[in-house]
Symmetry: C2
Subunit: 312 residues, 2 copies
């Protein structure tokens, strides 16, 4: 079968590191063009300054992958759907829940395929964990998501602006794994968000979750942006069978009772594009709103603590 022609909208770091090389190597997709406000082309293919210019110049193009920051995403996805395109979008989906729900409804109204990606969900170690918990149940979960904002966002003041989510921007990756592996729905019971006195997004977040389960598993998470010893992206689970599971490295390594049972490299984006090809084949949408909802609930329910000022 001929490969499906797709355009990438927003040629920032994630498009250059992942989307473009994965499309180049794909059996399902073929890059047709890019949209870049800075005019960044790829492999000499056409580049447009706005989505509208792309749609006007290539009306037959049916697919777009939107890799911009979330602030503009609602407008861009709306435009793409209105132009009759099927759409894949980066995480976090939008800056508000109302916008995401509007996109879900709009795609349904227009009968278009909408795929909301959560890259951390696409790891074999995550799938294996999900299968184990579905069978054995859950006694407790502890999420530790710690990294250095100075390493990952050096000097980027926008991460501290309202709507930037702060340490919840990496933290939502943990929530996307958490909501995928849990065999029952989870809700925010309470949270504590520490804001640097001179900044508008949290630098440290501690969350207690609840579930409707009779046996009341103990579920909690801690996100921190001041970890200088290296990344700690770990989800620890005690199963109903008493086994101790550790998902480490953001979902790429699985240890059961101190024995390493699975470790693999980064196949997240290749798996996502495979999944998108399947959705298109079946003309199905896939929008998982659970991670953004949980994160939004943290801000809604959380106690605020004024912490020390943060300077780069």
């Amino acid at each position: 079968m001929a490969r499906r022609r797709i355009a990438v909208i927003g040629v920032g770091k994630i498009a250059q590191d992942q989307h473009l090389p994965v499309i180049d190597a794909s059996d399902d997709f073929e890059l047709a063009a890019t949209v870049s406000t800075r005019g960044l082309s790829h492999n000499g293919l056409p580049v447009f300054r706005t989505p509208a210019e792309l749609y006007a110049a290539m009306p037959e193009l049916a697919l777009v992958s939107i890799c911009t920051p979330p602030g503009i995403r609602h407008q861009y996805v709306r435009e793409a759907l209105d132009a009759g395109k099927d759409v894949m979008m980066e995480k976090p989906p939008t800056t508000t829940i109302s916008e995401l729900d509007d996109l879900i409804a709009h795609a349904r109204r227009l009968d278009r395929v909408l795929y909301q990606t959560w890259h951390s969900q696409w790891n074999p170690a995550v799938d294996r964990t999900k299968a184990i918990l579905a069978q054995d149940g859950v006694r407790s979960v502890r999420i530790d998501w710690r990294e250095s904002v100075r390493k990952w966002h050096p000097g980027q003041d926008w991460v501290w602006e309202p709507g930037g989510f702060g340490v919840c921007d990496p933290g939502i990756n943990a929530l996307s794994i958490f909501t995928k592996i849990m065999p029952f729905p989870v809700f925010v019971e309470s949270a504590r968000l520490t804001f640097p006195a001179n900044r508008q997004t949290p630098i440290d977040v501690e969350i207690a979750f609840k579930s409707g389960q009779m046996h009341q598993p103990k579920l909690s998470a801690g996100f921190n942006w001041l970890e200088e010893s290296g990344e700690i992206w770990t989800i620890g689970v005690e199963t109903g069978a008493g086994d101790v599971i550790k998902l480490e490295g953001g979902g790429r390594s699985l240890t059961i009772n101190d024995e390493l049972v699975l470790q693999h490299g980064d196949g997240e984006y290749a798996a996502m594009y495979d999944h998108f090809a399947g959705l298109l084949e079946r003309h199905e949408s896939d929008v998982d709103a659970a991670p953004l909802r949980l994160m939004s609930d943290v801000f809604l329910m959380g106690a605020r603590v004024n912490g020390p000022e943060f300077e780069w």
Copy 2:
């Protein structure tokens, strides 16, 4: 037709002021029992300490109206749906978006009727405004929702606890009218929340909304809890036709170009129970999540300001 037997769960101020008298006067409903942790009966009817006791004692009862504070609502609605009841629930629906979406999905799964009420929506002046805006369009909206927390919640420290919403608790009534009357979807563009330095919920909120509309109407809201001159519950609209509309008194009075065209008393709860009877007749749910979503987006997107301490 025989009146439908219904139980009221949670016999606090809103049940005593509204639900119980409205059911007593209804042609569609008949009170069967109450559930009250304080043992508050009504008209000598049976009273139970927990919903589980009610369901065990009156298994044939098909309807409940849940009037508790929102913290316990998710659990109570889940229990009621699981017990096979159709459910009407007070506002605000739940303390998180995840919980509300879970209830919507659960009711659908069990094929039960779930009705989420927003009392401020049930005013003829609101309906009239909606009809006008649907025809003439919108140039601008300004919402002013100001009242005294000392008058409405004297000494109630829980309104300042995390998850209590603060001034957004009355403010969500304005949002429920706003989302009902607008002829297009609206989203939070930015917000500023002022928290008393010694409290965990906002005392003053200013919101700028955006829409996907080409003509970019100017949309904003201000909520304040320190208004001692009396309640100001006003939504001012300039229509696309240039008319100036004022919805005042929380939706009970409509003025167009300084001419009072509609003013009426409180028929909100009677209209809601009429609507619930219709939903039951048609076996349809009605859950409008838009007001809670918008409020949640305000907390997610908003800039925080530390204001002066608040003491009663």
